[in-house]
Every structure is written in structure tokens, then in C-alpha cells.
């Protein structure tokens, strides 16, 4: 999708296995608020990594510290092995940042914005305006290219903002809530863009409040709450760590539901429930016992329409991890 200008930059994909981000004990204090309170992050090269958490959890502060925009009060971080505090300029050459507020100049046109960013990155005027044209076409903004941004919609601004970050595709791309405020269609387009960036060798660190976004897009997820990392892993690992999967049985005859629930309880040794007239569900602590249960049901001549296993949603994971203290409030802000 993104074409690099310098041909010598086009070589194929070594460098996997090195950490794109290696942060140790990051701390940032604002007044008496420990906005980030000892966060470690190890992000392998070539993945999509999501920082998941509610508003005010400290996600943006973490991004700002990793992108040289904010000095940490404690801890250190490395980008591809380069210390963020000491090798600031090297780090800036390896990253691009798309923040929550569109970092483009309202008084200029889309073309002018992109051309200036390109020139600042070392392209000649001609190269920069050619690149601007390509990006505007790619992001469907070519019709609006000559207009100043104060006439742009919010979605157009965000697209231009992302385009501005991709003038030269950086090895590490930070996206702070890339899809917040986008309509569902634009959101899917953004996901596609992100996946293509990873396919061509970039590593992505994004923040999100949306659980399904982390679930569907990210290879690994770090759950952040009140400045701390409360869990880390693949979406599947996170779900496995918290919730047990649920066994769901649907009987053919509604008269058998109660009996099926009783048998399930007896065989599995857990509480079964009947959320629907023909449905029995039970937490699946030990998958081995499911065979016994199916045998027992056949013995009792209870016929099943479907048998399925439901994994817990990240939603449930999130609630379980970030706790009961603020549970109700959080439920609103992350839904």
C-alpha cells in the first residue's frame, strides 16, 4: 500500500525477533496523580500491539513517553535497541505518531500539509508533492486536496492525519485511538490500513478503548488500568486466564431441560443454569469430563440439538481484571 521513495530502502524482511519496544518500569507523575505507575512493555517486531484501557488509564501518557514527547519520571525505554532518553533523534527517525487530536495545520490545504511534512523529512519539493498526491488518492481525499482543513469533517482530518504519518513508512507506528469517533465503515478501512502496514514490515502500537478492536486486530494486548499494566498476552491467553470457557447444550425437547441440567451438575460437579427453555450452560472446568456428560445424557435418552463451547469475551476479561471497585463506572466508559 505505502510505497517508499528511496529504492535502496526496499529489502526484504529480516529483523524479526528484535524488540521494537522495550520499556522497563516507566513512571509518570502529574502532581499527586501517578498517571503511569511502573509499566513494563516488550513488543516484538512485526506485530500489532494494543494498549487497552478506559479513559484516563494512562495509555496516551505511555505513548508520549515512548515517542520522546514526554520525559518519564522513572524507568527507561528502548526503541529497536535505542535508548529513548539518550538517542532521541535516532528514535524519532524510527517512529511515526498519530495522536488523538489531528496534528495537521487547519489553515493550510491537505496537499500543503503533506508537502511540508514530506520536505521536513528530507524529500525534495517535487518528491514531497508527488508523495502527497499518492497519499491523498490512497486515503480518498483527492477531491478535497486544495481545500483548507477548516472545511474538513472530523473523519477526513483523521485520515489526513494518518496519511501524514505515512509519508515515509516508519518501522514503528504509534496510533493513539486511531478509530475513536469514526463511523463503522471508516473504522474497517482503518483496520485494513493497519494490517497492510504490518504486512509490509512495520510494527504497530495502538491504544484503544474498544474491546472488539483489540480482540480482532491485535496480536498481543496489554490491559492498562490506573497507570498499571494489569494483564498482558494474546487475546486468547487473556480470555483463558480469566474466564473458563462455558459449555452450552441445546436439547431437542424442552421437557428434558431440567433433567439435563441436573445431570450436568452431577457429572461436572459445577452449577449448571438454564438461560433458555432448551438450553443448559455450565462452566467447563475440566474438558475431560464432557465425554462423561455426553455419555450420561445418552444413557438418560436426552437428545441434543447442539453442543458448543463459548470462550469468554474480552469484555468479561476486562471487567474481571480491572476490578469491582470502579466496575460500574468502567462498564460505561469501555462499552
Amino acid at each position: 500500500m505505502v510505497q517508499q521513495i528511496e529504492p535502496e530502502l526496499i529489502i526484504s524482511g529480516a529483523g524479526k525477533g528484535v524488540l521494537a519496544v522495550d520499556a522497563r518500569g516507566l513512571v509518570k507523575v502529574f502532581g499527586d496523580n501517578r498517571a503511569v505507575d511502573g509499566v513494563d512493555l516488550s513488543i516484538p517486531t512485526g506485530c500489532i500491539y494494543a494498549l487497552l484501557g478506559p479513559n484516563g488509564a494512562g495509555k496516551t501518557t505511555i505513548i508520549n513517553m515512548l515517542t520522546t514527547l514526554l520525559k518519564p519520571d522513572g524507568g527507561s525505554s528502548k526503541i529497536f535497541g535505542h535508548d529513548v532518553a539518550r538517542e532521541t533523534h535516532v528514535v524519532r527517525q524510527l517512529i511515526s505518531v498519530t495522536g488523538q487530536s489531528a496534528a495537521v495545520d487547519e489553515r493550510l490545504s491537505a496537499t500543503e500539509n503533506l508537502t511540508i511534512f514530506g520536505m521536513l523529512l528530507g524529500l525534495s519539493r517535487a518528491e514531497a508533492s508527488k508523495r502527497a498526491e499518492e497519499l491523498l488518492e490512497e486515503f480518498g481525499l483527492e477531491d478535497a486536496a486544495k481545500r483548507t482543513l477548516d472545511k474538513f469533517s472530523g473523519g477526513m482530518r483523521r485520515r489526513l492525519d494518518l496519511a501524514s504519518s505515512l509519508i515515509l513508512q516508519a518501522p514503528l507506528i504509534f496510533l493513539d485511538e486511531p478509530t475513536s469517533g469514526l463511523d463503522p465503515r471508516t473504522r474497517l478501512q482503518m483496520w485494513d490500513s493497519i494490517r497492510r502496514l504490518v504486512a509490509s514490515g512495520s510494527t504497530i502500537l495502538l491504544t484503544t478503548q474498544y474491546l472488539d478492536e483489540a480482540d480482532q486486530l491485535a496480536d498481543r494486548v496489554a490491559v492498562i488500568d490506573r497507570g498499571r499494566l494489569v494483564a498482558e498476552g494474546t487475546p486468547r491467553e487473556l480470555k483463558a486466564a480469566v474466564g473458563k470457557a462455558t459449555l452450552r447444550l441445546q436439547v431437542t425437547n424442552a421437557d428434558n431441560t431440567a433433567e439435563a441440567a441436573r445431570i450436568a451438575q452431577e457429572v461436572l460437579g459445577v452449577r449448571a443454569s438454564t438461560p433458555d427453555t432448551k438450553v443448559v450452560t455450565a462452566p467447563m472446568a475440566d474438558p475431560e469430563r464432557v465425554t462423561d456428560l455426553l455419555d450420561a445424557l445418552r444413557g438418560a435418552e436426552i437428545h441434543l440439538a447442539t453442543v458448543s463451547v463459548q470462550e469468554p469475551t474480552l469484555d468479561e476479561v476486562f471487567m474481571a481484571l480491572t476490578g469491582d471497585k470502579q466496575g460500574g463506572e468502567k462498564a460505561g466508559s469501555i462499552s
Binding site: I11, L69, L94, E106, L108, S109, M119, P171
Partner: protein, 269 residues
């Protein structure tokens, strides 16, 4: 698989910005500011309206009282307006810098691999255009009202001195712009500096009419030297001590305020 970018670990990168890149980045930023001026020409109000209005206003208001006639006052007031306009134009540089720094686009500049100083030097370079417009318009107004300078060379050098002095003084206001939190504060404090500096100088009246204590202040005011130097260039066509002194004073302003501004700016950048 289509194309692949160079992996981060395989890139050979330097941790410092070369002088060439710094200059190139500053010029790109200046270009950006010129584009903004072209898109929002109302930014040029102060450097267009003020020279026209002030020259007319002061010439007819004070001309008779101070010099007996409008034409007689022009040799005094035209250099005065030149200096006064230079000062207000350089104040606007600081206010605009502050406004600019609060905009989202500065967030991007900060995370880009560019010279840290470029977002600061760019607008300062671009504003040379504003000072040139202000200076040229004042000359035109003076000419229309009947003012005649002795030599074209003297007038040209006088104009260059005014533009140069504006640029030097703009560092004072750039510094305020970087240190203070809002554009309104910059505006307020700059005005408090601007009025005494502008009016308590030789810009509008001959300094010999002032009480002694006020003359002391007027004599250390850099604007006084600039005004005298320009008067001498326009009215006698010669370069005098005041020319050298105004160069020394404006360079001194840069030597004090440029490093200070840079340091305050870098601390925030």
C-alpha cells in the same frame, strides 16, 4: 508478499541533526509560514493598515504643532513611523508564535526527526516579509504626502536597517511567546513593553523638548538610535554614530534573547 520496509534494527542512523538539515528545516518552516500568510492575508493587517493610518494620522495631527506644517514634520515622523511599525510588527511575531505552538500540528513537529529549532526559526524568517511590507508602505505613504529623501541609497539602507532591527527586536517577543502560556498574556505584556519603548523615544517628537529624566530613558532606548540613524540616512544621506549604535544594540538584543528563547523553547520541545 509485496514490498517490505527496511527493518528498524538494520537502519544506520545518526543521533544529531546536521547544520545543513537545520537550515533546510528552518527554510521549510519559513515556507510553511509564508503559505499560511497567503491563506490568511488578514495576518497582514497590522503591517498594512498601521503604516498608512499612522503616517496620515500623525502627520496631520502633530505636523502643525511640532514643525509648523505637515511637510515640515515628515522628515521627523516618517522615520518615527518606520521604527514604531517595526516594533509592532515584531510583537505580532511573538503572539503568533504562541498561538501556533498551541496548535495540534506542533505535536507532530515534536515527534518528527527534524531540527528542534526549526518551528521557531521558520516563523522568524518568514516575518522578514512582514517587516519589508510595513517598511515599504511607510515609505510610499511618506512619498505621497510629499516627503523626499536625499538619496535613494540612503533610503534603501534606512529601509534595510528598519527590517533588520525589527527582526532583532522580534526575538524579545519570541521569547515572551515561548515563556508565556497564552497568546493573550503575550499580547498584554508585549503592549506594556511596546508603548513606552515606542513613544518614549525620539520617534514622534524632538527629544530636546523632553524633561531631563525622560531624556535619560530615551537615550538608552534602542528605538531612539534606530530612529536617529534612519533620519540621518533619509534627511542627510549619511551614516552616523547612531547607525552603528543601533546595529550594536540590535545585535545585543539578539545575543541576549536568542539563546534565552532557544533554551526555554528546547526545555518545552
Amino acid at each position: 508478499m509485496t514490498f517490505q520496509i527496511v527493518p528498524g534494527v538494520e537502519r544506520k542512523l545518526k543521533n544529531r541533526v546536521s547544520l545543513r538539515t537545520t537550515i533546510s528545516n528552518s527554510l521549510t518552516m519559513a515556507y510553511r509560514n509564508l503559505l499560511i500568510i497567503r491563506r490568511t492575508p488578514q495576518q497582514l493587517f497590522d503591517v498594512t493598515i498601521q503604516p498608512i493610518l499612522f503616517t496620515l494620522m500623525f502627520a496631520f495631527l502633530f505636523g502643525g504643532a511640532i514643525s509648523g506644517s505637515v511637510t515640515g514634520y515628515l522628515p521627523i515622523i516618517v522615520p518615527g513611523i518606520l521604527a514604531q511599525t517595526a516594533l509592532t510588527a515584531s510583537m505580532a511575531t511573538g503572539v503568533q508564535l504562541r498561538e501556533d505552538m498551541d496548535k495540534g500540528v506542533f505535536y507532530r513537529f515534536k515527534s518528527m526527526p527534524i531540527a528542534r529549532i526549526a518551528p521557531l526559526t521558520g516563523p522568524l524568517i518568514a516575518d522578514l516579509v512582514r517587516y519589508t511590507i510595513a517598511t515599504a508602505l511607510t515609505f510610499v505613504m511618506g512619498y505621497l504626502l510629499g516627503f523626499r529623501w536625499v538619496s535613494a541609497g540612503g533610503a534603501l539602507l534606512g529601509g534595510v536597517l528598519v527590517v533588520w532591527a525589527s527582526w532583532c527586536l522580534s526575538w524579545i517577543f519570541a521569547c515572551l511567546g515561548v515563556v508565556l502560556k497564552t497568546a493573550q498574556t503575550v499580547q498584554g505584556i508585549a503592549a506594556a513593553i511596546l508603548f513606552p519603548l515606542g513613544f518614549l523615544s525620539g520617534a514622534f517628537v524632538p527629544t530636546s523638548t523632553l524633561p531631563g529624566w525622560l531624556q535619560d530613558f530615551v537615550n538608552i532606548n534602542p528605538l531612539t538610535y534606530i530612529v536617529s540613524a534612519v533620519r540621518q540616512l533619509l534627511n542627510q544621506g549619511t551614516i552616523g554614530n547612531d547607525f552603528l549604535l543601533s546595529l550594536v544594540e540590535s545585535v545585543a538584543v539578539v545575543l541576549v534573547f536568542a539563546p534565552l528563547t532557544l533554551r526555554m523553547y528546547m526545555r518545552k520541545a
